[in-house]
Assembly symmetry: C2
Homo-oligomer: 341 residues x 2
């Protein structure tokens, strides 16, 4: 096997052989069910605690249900999973811990803030492409109520939200990645790119879109400069959760570099809610945003044959409430995966 990356001088990594998305599942809350993509979720529950006693345990439960559903669709026993790659927004990533422990698989915990799904998919693909694993799970989640009280205010406080603030998606997405495609019908990951941390000095915790947009621009620009691909090649180029403000900044910064993706570009955070009607302000955010849009809507589009080629660029804001209170600005990161069929 000649490794096509042996002398790569790019951040882009082309897989030697495709890695298949054997199955996926999206779990969401009531607001997500009511949104424009509601019908694409596998399971939704209006009970924000998902039958548990706390928001946090509810988030774990979403991960458990999402992975279980994806395993069932793939007709895969959980013992066949050689590893689970997962992460979330809660301190010390406890949603993933408590949600996934019962699967008993070797566990690779990741933290990429809201970019974690692309990080899971990229790493999982490389581990399979490298020949070390045959089948792995990739799972992330976020939960509005758990995130609000951890990052901003307890819900009971009724804090006012800025127009640029985003609404953390209550949702989870799970993917089963494999080196072989028994169905002959699975979309495949063909290219991945790990983003660099970019900090343009944004300190406004109510404007994560602005903080993350420069990272998205960095990754997208690198992608189109390092490949022969054109925006027109894709059915959709989707960022993770930049929202109205971040999407606009991304479009404008890319345009100023001569890269026009507008015709194919959308943001998962804008797709998942009807921002005006659903009072979601600048759009959805959170690890569960791009994860559930990918695992629900995008995968359905692939299955229906309506999508053949997408570029998913999940974006994350690498901050903590403490780091912002200490006066640090908010670096962003954007990891990329190309999915084709």
């Amino acid at each position: 096997m000649i490794n096509i990356n042996a002398n790569r001088k790019t951040d882009l990594i082309k897989l030697n052989k495709p890695v298949y998305i054997i199955s996926s599942a999206a779990v969401g809350g009531g607001k997500e069910k009511e949104g424009p993509l509601g019908e694409y979720f596998d399971i939704t529950d209006r009970d924000v605690k998902f039958g548990t006693k706390t928001f946090e345990a509810g988030e774990s439960e979403m991960q458990r249900v999402a992975l279980n559903t994806a395993l069932k669709k793939a007709k895969t026993h959980h013992k066949e999973l050689e590893a689970i790659l997962a992460g979330d927004l809660l301190n010390q990533c406890v949603s993933s811990t408590y949600g996934l422990i019962e699967f008993g698989a070797p566990f690779i915990g990741l933290f990429g803030a809201c970019s974690t799904m692309a990080e899971c998919l990229a790493l999982g693909s490389l581990l399979i492409d490298g020949g070390h694993f045959r089948k792995v799970g990739a799972v992330t989640s976020s939960h509005f109520c758990a995130a609000e009280r951890q990052f901003r205010f307890p819900l009971e406080y009724g804090g006012q939200r800025a127009p640029t603030a985003q609404w953390t998606v209550t949702g989870s997405g799970a993917v089963i990645l494999g080196g072989a495609d028994s169905s002959g019908n699975s979309p495949k990951i063909t290219e991945v790119m790990f983003g660099r941390m970019i900090d343009k000095g944004i300190t406004d915790i109510q404007n994560m879109g602005a903080a993350m947009a420069p990272a998205a621009v960095d990754t997208i620009l690198k992608y189109f400069r390092e490949t022969d691909a054109n925006p027109a090649d894709f059915d959709i180029i989707a960022t993770g959760d930049l929202g109205i403000e971040g999407k606009r900044i991304t479009e404008n910064l890319l345009l100023s570099e001569g890269c026009d993706i507008r015709e194919k570009y959308n943001d998962c955070g804008l797709m998942i809610y009807d921002c005006e009607k659903q009072d979601a302000h600048a759009g959805g955010s959170g690890c569960g945003c791009s994860a559930s849009v990918l695992c629900g809507y995008f995968m359905r589009k692939f299955m229906l044959g309506e999508y053949k080629n997408i570029l998913l660029v999940c974006t994350g804001a690498l901050m903590s409430p403490g780091s912002v209170m200490q006066g640090n600005s908010i670096p962003g990161i954007a990891h990329l995966v190309r999915i084709e069929k």
Copy 2:
């Protein structure tokens, strides 16, 4: 290339070709300098803020200095790093973010609590072994003062510590991993194993050793059952930060399974401090514990020819203060790397 893992039925992953630890660097605080391994640190500073304004920024600074020092030793420009794998204990892993952003490398954020260094090394090795990367950095850290106020009490409170409580190491370790060894003298990683999450119902936040020991036992037992190796083959079998209590539990649980590692076994948390004289109670802990012992002491032993073969089993407690307050027990995890020369 025939991949030796193509049909593996084990959790253990043997690398197809060795991945070299080209260089390493250990940074620590004053207490670590005064400990039995003090002389093996590359850089120590009695100023717990490492010249910055906060404990948290000081922790980031340790990561920056550690990676910089490792790069210098490896005569490697930071632009040669094709990725940095890193993580820490602070909420949303911000020590790694702010400490490593200036290196400008593609960034892969990990969370494995105190097991993060082995997770970084294992993943980094697989990415190089798979042919996707040639040179990556692996960095972790922890900081006593930052961890105390995040996980337990602000220092000013002067909270009493239980005898089983551990002392979070103020330290950072950085490793440069590469597929080629220009010096001809570098230790190499030959086997890795990702641990499974194990929860035996421990809820005492002042006894992390007991929470993590069953995970260490699970990984160590699997290792010796899945290989022909014997404890006698190693110069040292080192767990990450189980402390007095956790080490004893690990020894006893392993003995009850017929696995006697006592002659070669030690715990980084017990090596880094003179627990009695230094008032470190049950021993050191934190991502920086096993990382700095590896990058300082163990690597020096390899360089001196005194070590030829070690088994590093970094242990992590996958909890948050919130998860414990909500009544959850504390799952542990233990990732393993074998390093040889």
